[in-house]
Symmetry: none
Subunit: 402 residues, 2 copies
């Protein structure tokens, strides 16, 4: 489907839409267990909701492709995940709530350790602790001084990870990464990939020389490695594209960052699942669209903790009645991708999904799980197409053609 046509058909309306996203929801059998995590979980409220809903599986990027969190969420929100692929540096910037500026150049930084000859001995500087990271970042931000009025800032993320921000006119992200991805070799040069990036390459070369000098006496973390250069190309946001005022509720900065990239307002002050759902209810009158993000199924999946992921899903089930009581016109429950405990990481498997609406045609699915959903009325749907269905069921899409 053409995204431009969709946007042109969007009309204002009253119907509210809730996307309840269980990160990494999709799963697999594990050891002796034949059920997936969702199938094994006791979810009476989700099952009852599934009975009144149209169900199916969402394919995030197409058969066999495993998405990162960025592309997966873009697809959920109806953005072509290939066209709008977000550079890692930009996700880092969004993730630390850095105020984005289209002039800035962002990059993902690892503190690393070099030996006396300048060869990389540890690409993560022994997973430097976050406080050490903060000290080094402050020293560098204070002392690096670049020519031509280019601003330099290093922002701590966690452990060995940081965000580089260069600010100034005419910076280009078309540069080679300096992380060699292995040890015993020199860091790579920040070579220009296109002629227009030569000035930026020169600035980065100068910068890396200063960093090397300033950090020379550090035992761990005496250098930085760069990758994922990115600039912020502002997206057509939810309001512009869908005429929706949107609120994002998440405990994690990265998801708040993605939401902010799409023009959602972001609720910062929540710190528990209870508070997330309470915030949904408290803000329900104020917005058209709600993105409520639950991190724990993905985290337990990444840990390889099948029972933990089952429990994380069951914890969400308890809140379903209070979401239904808000009476949204559309309630979607799904994930951004699968994170099977059996694989300890993101995977390509399509994600179970349900869409409840008074205007939906309920199918025969009466239990929310991967295999029941396979028989649902949505079939196996490209994840990017979910948003159009949500808008349609909310009464927010005009007819196409006479």
């Amino acid at each position: 489907m053409n995204e431009k046509i969709l946007s042109e058909l969007t009309v204002s309306g009253e119907g509210k839409i809730v996307f309840l996203i269980l990160d990494g929801l999709g799963g697999l059998p594990y050891g002796e267990r034949r059920e997936t995590e969702l199938e094994a979980a006791q979810t009476p409220n989700l099952n009852a909701l599934a009975k009144d809903s149209i169900c199916g599986l969402l394919d995030p990027l197409g058969p066999g492709l495993t998405p990162g969190s960025g592309p997966a969420h873009l697809a959920l929100f109806g953005y072509d995940p290939f066209q709008y692929n977000v550079g890692r540096g930009l996700l880092s910037a969004a993730g630390v709530d850095y105020p984005l500026d289209p002039e800035d150049l962002y990059a993902r930084v690892n503190f690393a350790t070099l030996d006396g000859e300048g060869l990389v001995t540890d690409r993560r500087a022994g997973r430097l602790d976050t406080e050490e990271n903060r000290r080094l970042a402050e020293v560098l931000t204070a002392r690096v001084s670049l020519p031509g009025g280019i601003g330099f800032r290093l922002v701590t993320e966690k452990e060995h990870r940081a965000l580089l921000v260069l600010s100034g006119k005419g910076l280009s992200p078309e540069l080679a990464e300096t992380d060699p991805q292995k040890t015993g070799v020199f860091p790579l040069a920040p070579r220009a990939l296109i002629p227009e990036a030569q000035k930026t390459a020169g600035i980065l070369t100068e910068m890396l020389g200063q960093v090397r000098t300033i950090l020379a006496e550090e035992k761990r973390g005496n250098m930085i490695l760069l990758r994922g250069y990115a600039k912020h190309h502002p997206f057509p946001g939810f309001r512009e594209r869908y005429r929706l005022s949107a609120l994002a509720i998440s405990l994690y900065p990265m998801y708040r960052g993605i939401a902010r990239l799409l023009g959602m307002e972001v609720l910062g002050e929540v710190s528990t699942l209870e508070e997330e759902f309470a915030a949904l209810a408290a803000n329900f009158e104020g917005y058209d669209f709600f993105f409520l993000h639950v991190k724990t199924p993905d985290a337990r999946g990444e840990d390889g903790d099948y029972a933990g992921k089952v429990k994380a899903i069951e914890e969400v089930d308890r809140f379903i009645p209070e979401v239904r009581a808000l009476n949204p016109r559309v309630l979607v429950v799904t994930g951004d991708h699968s994170t099977p405990a059996a694989l300890k990481g993101h995977s390509w498997h399509p994600v179970p999904a349900l869409l409840y609406s008074p205007a939906c045609l309920p199918d025969d699915v009466s239990s929310f799980g991967e295999r029941p959903c396979l028989k649902g009325g949505l079939g196996i749907l490209p994840m990017k197409d979910l948003m159009a269905l949500a808008l349609a069921h909310a009464g927010r899409l005009a007819k196409f053609g006479a």
Copy 2:
């Protein structure tokens, strides 16, 4: 699928194809009823046919998109509904059986009422009766006189609706609509949207001034509002594209008009459902392809009349045995889109479909309805792909590649 490849593979043959189109067939549960209209209908003959057929759901435009009648029928007949989007003015022209000319500019007209200052007080002139419409259209056609040899004609449709035809060289449809879509404001100017349309905009401005003067003394309908400007870009028709001679049988001019746009012959003299089916039998030897259009399910759906739509479907069921007795190589029964009584209008929901042919692989569907069809062998199929399946089952498509 590539339409060009399909056309190149088409071969002549003997197998006849019947498309029995129940307009607005797809439905939804209604109030206490869990069944859709089709599921609730007593359709022993359609159920028996489904048993011998391959079944599924057709998605007219893609997830969430609700089609107008034009795009929906284009998709049914294998034409990309976005590429071949037909302007409303052209549908009006086809709908009143106006002889189409690629030089003509068509527009959809509303008679409207303005107050003494020229503000719109009624966009439909109190739903003017058709005879009044005819009188005004004749007066205007006789008296409006445009410069540069441009011909003017106003053709009555029904109530407040009419068709404007301007004829002459170099007319452009790239103009702003003059219908302001609300009352208490002036009609809009027919502004050129591209530089090449400035001459046409000038002609329309002159024309609207004359119309205002000629109708000045009318109490209701003292002005016309324009929208849906369109020219006729001749389509590659059924014969050229599919090597099919096609006959359209419909009680309604608009559907006959769409069929004529696609190069079908059109039967004009039918006025009841019985006559439509009798005409199919009477003309069965003379054509390869038959489009038999039944309007009532859509009309009852638009009325919000669930029981009436059920009955309309049941009335069609009676005729199935006599269609089967004609022994077509392919018999398709489906709709152009859904019109659930619960929504009182067209909707985005996929439409149940069956394709009967001696060459089909019957699935396990033994009852014709939305949810049974979900388990059918066609799956959820883009509506545009139906035509290729019909051609294949009729023995009218060659092998691709060696």
